[in-house]
């Protein structure tokens, strides 16, 4: 079974479920060093994404990613809305109009997503943002999509954990100075959660995503 629009859409719906399950955890992480809305923002946003996909699923992987992007951008707000939205939008651009994804395209999509987030948010690795999870994920490699995403998810987990001891230079946690030390960045955590969910979907569906 190839990684077509339908499997990408299914993976997104599954990821929405994961976001819902971790909504309170993400709220708590953001409450500690931010404004306590990150989990609620993503829950709301992915709720709209699921509705939009239920209404009509685009017929290419790129089309699905673009729909996700436009819903997140137009419905979420906050920092996460435009940043995740841009990530999906650039990913959509990277995969183009193909019918099925390949490991190379997924790798390109992750790289493009990272590029988009950095272009918009201007954060570097070590600034204690989602970039700390997304950057190592984008460098992950794998023989098939499932392996690639598993490697990306593992890298993102490590990256998210690496934010704990940091002082933040971007985002809301930057207002706290030293007081941000000891807390994981919520956006890095949500990147790791999404990638883990995508990896699980890919593994579950047998071959690719």
């Amino acid at each position: 079974m190839g990684c077509d629009a339908r499997s990408v859409a299914a993976a997104v719906v599954a990821a929405a479920g994961v976001v819902g399950e971790h909504r309170d955890e993400l709220v708590r992480l953001d409450q500690a060093i931010g404004d306590a809305d990150h989990g609620e923002n993503l829950r709301r946003g992915f709720g709209f994404v699921v509705s939009a996909l239920a209404e009509s699923t685009p017929d290419t992987p790129g089309g699905v990613l673009k729909l996700v992007a436009s819903v997140l951008i137009s419905k979420v707000g906050g920092a996460a809305g435009p940043l995740f939205g841009t990530a999906f939008l650039r990913a959509a651009g990277a995969v183009g109009a193909v019918e099925e994804l390949t490991p190379e395209l997924v790798s390109a999509a992750l790289g493009a997503a990272l590029g988009g987030v950095v272009a918009r948010g201007k954060a570097a690795v070590g600034d204690k943002t989602m970039v700390d999870a997304l950057a190592p994920a984008a460098s992950a490699r794998g023989a098939d999509i499932a392996a690639l995403l598993a490697a990306a998810a593992a890298a993102a987990d490590v990256g998210a954990s690496s934010t704990v001891p940091l002082v933040a230079r971007k985002g809301r946690a930057s207002y706290l100075g030293e007081r941000a030390i000891g807390h994981m960045d919520p956006g890095a955590r949500s990147v790791a959660l999404l990638l883990r969910s995508f990896a699980n979907s890919a593994a579950g569906s047998g071959v690719g995503l």
Partner: protein, 329 residues
């Protein structure tokens, strides 16, 4: 959590319904995307002034919509910047053909969402508001937050637009206010966000958070609770030293409640602040005292000091008619 709400997910929608009901002759409120516009918009040939931000800071921004101030406000979810959809819808409603001025508090989310919206709009200018001296200013960070000065920027830019100034002039005046205003706040208690249900931080009974923002984020540091004179001094000195404000300056002093502070305490703090400025030779020629830039039920105060010249003073004094600020009309 004790709140007068129905479903926490609907608080902004429900509150906007109440806002519309409360001000039927002043405001036109649309939902989905949520926009609060002055009923008189669009005004042909007038620069449209739009602001917006997360909800939970009321009366900011919706309470400042009306003639002489904002043409429209875009209320996001609680503590969440509005979406580009809202901002585009607001612009479509109020653009009178002379351009749109976007007044944006400097938070990553606000900046990005307004940026996206602006890409779809013609003839806009964006002014970033970043007056909070509690945050170190640096081009390597998110920079300073926009807090109390927002009201002053909205009033003065709105008055300029009402007086017929063009987009560049309005933007220049808004930037002048940003350049001349500094703020800092402290909290005695944390706010409780409706979709969270617990206070954003826990503060012992004998401590205050100094250098807070308006989103329930913890402050720069905790300090022992002190008397009002010490607290006021701890806020005003960094403000005055930052610009710096110096003897001979004429200023507007804005004493702001974070939401839950009794007016009795607010006026008490204001009195101390006036004495402190006078002792430094700074003349307060205009003042604003009240809960204008809030953080839900947070108890605390912030001060904003704005250096005035006669042009800014005249624009401040110009008639304004909004839900929360009204004079001359």
């Amino acid at each position: 959590m004790k709140k007068i709400i129905n479903n926490p997910a609907d608080v902004v929608t429900d509150a906007l319904r109440g806002l519309a009901a409360a001000h039927p002759t002043l405001l036109r409120v649309t939902q989905d995307p949520a926009v609060v516009a002055w009923v008189g918009t669009p005004v042909a040939g007038k620069v449209a002034v739009i602001s917006g931000g997360g909800s939970g800071h009321e009366p900011l921004h919706s309470g400042f919509v009306g003639p002489g101030m904002l043409d429209a406000a875009c209320p996001g979810a609680v503590f969440t910047s509005p979406t580009p959809d809202q901002i585009q819808a607001a612009a479509a409603q109020v653009d009178g053909g002379a351009g749109v001025l976007l007044l944006v508090k400097n938070y990553t989310g606000d900046v990005l969402n307004f940026e996206t919206a602006a890409e779809f709009l013609d003839n806009t200018r964006t002014v970033l508001i970043d007056d909070d001296v509690a945050v170190q200013d640096s081009s390597f960070t998110a920079g300073r937050r926009g807090v109390g000065a927002t009201v002053l920027v909205e009033k003065i830019a709105g008055a300029a637009a009402a007086a017929g100034a063009d987009l560049d002039t309005c933007a220049r005046l808004a930037e002048a206010v940003v350049a001349g205003a500094r703020s800092m706040g402290l909290a005695l208690t944390a706010p409780t966000v409706p979709h969270v249900g617990s206070p954003s931080f826990v503060l012992p009974d004998d401590e205050v958070e100094v250098g807070i923002g308006i989103h329930g984020e913890p402050g720069r540091r905790r300090e022992p609770l002190a008397d009002a004179s010490a607290l006021v001094t701890a806020l005003l000195e960094p403000i005055l030293d930052d610009l710096p404000f110096t003897a001979g300056d004429q200023v507007l002093l804005f004493t702001n409640s974070m939401g839950g502070t009794p007016l009795l305490e607010l006026y008490l703090a204001h009195g101390i602040a006036e004495e402190l400025l006078a002792a430094r030779g700074i003349t307060v020629t205009r003042r604003l005292v009240g809960p204008y830039v809030t953080s839900l039920d947070m108890q605390g105060i912030s001060f904003t000091v704005l250096r005035l010249d006669s042009a800014l003073t005249d624009l401040w004094d110009a008639p304004v008619h909004t839900a929360a600020l009204r004079w001359g009309v």
